[in-house]
Amino acid sequence: MKLNDISTSVPKKDHKGKVSGQLPYISDVKVENMVYGVLYRSPIAYGKISTIQLPNLPAGYEVVGSEQIPGPNYVKIIKEDQPIFASEWVNYIGEPILMLVGKELNTLYRLLNEVKIEFEEHQAIYTLEDAIYRKSESGVTMASYEFGESLEIISAIEHGAHQIIEEEYDTGYQEHVYLEPQGMLALYKDDEIIVQGSMQCLYYIKNALLSALACGEDEVRVIQSATGGGFGGKEEYPSMMACHVAVAARAVKKSVMLVYDRSEDMVVTTKRHPAKINYRTSLDKDGNILSMCVDLFLDAGANEGLSSVVLQRALLNSAGVYKIPHFHAKGFVLKTNTVPNGAFRGFGAPQSFAGIESHIGHLSKQAKIDPLEYKRKYLVKQGDPTITKGNFRDPVLMEEMIEDLLYSSDYKKKKEDFQRFNQQNQRYKKGMGTSLFLHGCGFTGSGERDHIKATVKLVKTKNDHVSLKISNSDMGQGILTTLCKIVAKELDISYEQVFYPDPDTKEVPDSGPTVASRTTMIVGKLLERAARKLKTQWLSGVEQEVEEHYIHREMIPWNEKTFTGDAYPAYSWGVNFVEVEVDTLTGNVRLEKVYANYEVGKVIDERIMKGQIDGGLAQGLAYGYLEKMTSKQGKIQQKSISDYGPPTSLDVVPIDSKVFDNPYTDGPYGAKGAGELTLIGGAPAVQSAIENALQTSFQQIPITPEVIINSLWTKEGEEG
């Protein structure tokens, strides 16, 4: 099939294998001489291991722990603070201490029960509030940044202001619930360990293994197997599992499989960081914003992991899509003795957008202006500076996107209708809410240039088949299809002639991790360039190979110390409108209608884009009112899917979505990132819709039925 318009959908490359169930995920793989691993995990939140007592192990069963690690005992991510196997201190409930390996899982579980470890317990930090209170104690603040207008100037402005509004906003955990639980297999060979599994970032894993095994480049190899959803949950976490199975395989000289069951996965793997955000905004007598200060705190859990980078993105989005005069922000990553938090679609931005959209919405009430009207007064335009003195240099289509939704949703009339409905109905209340948001595409600042340095390769065979050699994972988002389309179109060959074999570090260069909405824009652009190069050299019937390397477009240089410059090369944009009906008796929220407009440069495949919109929004909306995870004394309370409550088919409604064209020069065919953007607007839109229905304000997500009922009681109390 020749591709005419790049946006026209094509059959997905992996459709057959997936629809028939015959494409193997890691738990479907069995190899000769394979043993399973199970982990003994810390039952306490903070303390020192004093004694370890192992049961008598039957033949063929072995224990693997920190002594078996050939290299240093940490998972190489950013900081060296995450042990592969805790050997002295434990820092959270669920932290791996040792692994039992052997043939039968049932026997392993029985033996696990017989392991006896004694601890000397210490006083743990269980909550973010506690960590904020103790943030100056040693080791509690793991990272912090501060930038923006000087505090002296702000304090002078506040002095002359008509009013100062302070709000404290809380966001909860979010759990990925990728449908395929985490799984990793290490294949043992005398001269090589091959680690295969569900993952987003092959070279993160490879680098972690090189460190843990203290071995040479050609002694480890990482292969991605079909990945049943990632959403960020398979960004850094799999590195630890890879270290576990690889160290074990080395130690017992057998292939080792580690697959989590759902409850283990829910309790011990990374989640979206809970956050607390404080806003302090000064207003003039008409409710116009004079200045704003934001303090943002992220609960990292027990290890730093990627938290400092998550904090950067959270801070970079702390003013939302608005041009706020005299803006100042600071943020902290704080340690608690709870399960480490990590990457999740949006990467800090969903917390910030939930917060700022909520705050701006509440300010509009002070100004007695419709929230959307108020937001539009502050909307950034092309050429405006960013909060870090960068620049929004490309056209911004937000006004068109908003106008379009005002029209298609019949916003004004709806709001009046709802008001009438609410006056006539005691029990059910309807409301309409909006959210405006953006997402910076690619790594923050100069990350692509300084850290990732992506390389891609195209290999052509004698029969003129072209293969993509890149280290990026298809985890469901569809890059097997979209990236092949880009190459096919650029080479002007048929889509069926282009292949994307399972990435294997022995075969592919490091084109970077599959994160940060960078794959289409950055890797796709490199592939487009590589294809163009191959085309000029094309010799039919001859084997050929081309390579391309990342080229940085210099803008206003990013400075991580001062937090100034262009944080991102480009931004994708979105507007969501949501209509809800709230049952004031039960507190249940029912979505009635969802409208969504996006601008992602250029769509590479319309159907795949719609899949990203529907799936991302379902997660984003649910983050605002359905999905609730809590930790008590360091223990995650929701161990099963139904305890946690991700949306089912009955919770979601059809989504009326549109994507606006606004081609971006440095993206393939003009494409920018899209995967994370779609999640970000869900929660703030649902919050403002619920607020509109109940004529009240919330300072947190998720807004569960319990939160709603409590607020109605409080309101009743106040109204006497």
Binding site: S9, P11, K12, D14, H15, K16, G17, K18, V19, S20, G21, Q22, L23, P24, Y25, S27, D28, H176, V177, Y178, L179, E180, P181, A226, T227, G228, G229, G230, F231, D261, R262, S263, M475, G476, Q477, G478, R607, I608, K610, G611, D614, G615, G616, L617, A618, Q619, S640, I641, S642, P646, P647, T648, S649, L650, V652, P654, I655
Partner: protein, 158 residues
């Protein structure tokens, strides 16, 4: 020894009666299309037909299936119904990571066999026991709707 029919073949096993049907299918019969997403009856990834009714195989001890007729996704791949669903899921864009999909296909086939022309609400109810974290369900709902239209007349015959 437990004897039952698996995808049209009479088979037997001497595995203990408490073994989960899911494990038996996957480990002993090496049929990988039936997936485990939760092991607790909450996600539907492990859906199979037991005497033509869709069930979560992770909740079924094999002791209870003596004499039963079990069908997994592998057992329906050759059917006309599957072909229609396959095509509809492709056209509607219902497949992302794919992990929920075999279970969804089983639930879709079960729904359409019972109700060849379901309404949108009936479709949503029909797949409400099957979790999908990627798609937000709408394109799966579209796929089932499409399969109902395209497969007009084929759902009733067994």
């Amino acid at each position: 020894m437990i004897t039952f029919t698996l995808n049209g073949r009479v088979v037997e096993t001497d595995a203990p009666a408490t073994v989960r049907l899911l494990d038996l299918i996957r480990d002993d019969f090496e049929l990988i299309g039936t997936k485990e997403g939760c092991g607790e009856g909450e996600c539907g990834a492990c859906s199979v037909f037991v005497n033509n009714l869709v069930q979560n195989s992770c909740l079924i001890p094999i002791g209870s299936i003596a004499g039963a007729n079990i069908q997994t996704i592998e057992g329906i791949i050759e059917t006309e119904q599957f072909k229609i669903l396959d095509e509809s899921y492709s056209v509607a864009g219902g497949v992302q990571c794919g992990y929920c999909i075999p279970g969804m296909i089983m639930a879709s086939a079960a729904l359409l066999s019972k109700n060849p022309h379901p309404s949108e609400t009936e479709i949503r109810e029909g797949i409400s026991g099957n979790l999908c974290r990627c798609t937000g369900y709408n394109m799966i709902v579209d796929a089932i709707n499409l399969a109902a239209q395209k497969g007009d007349g084929i759902w009733q015959k067994k």
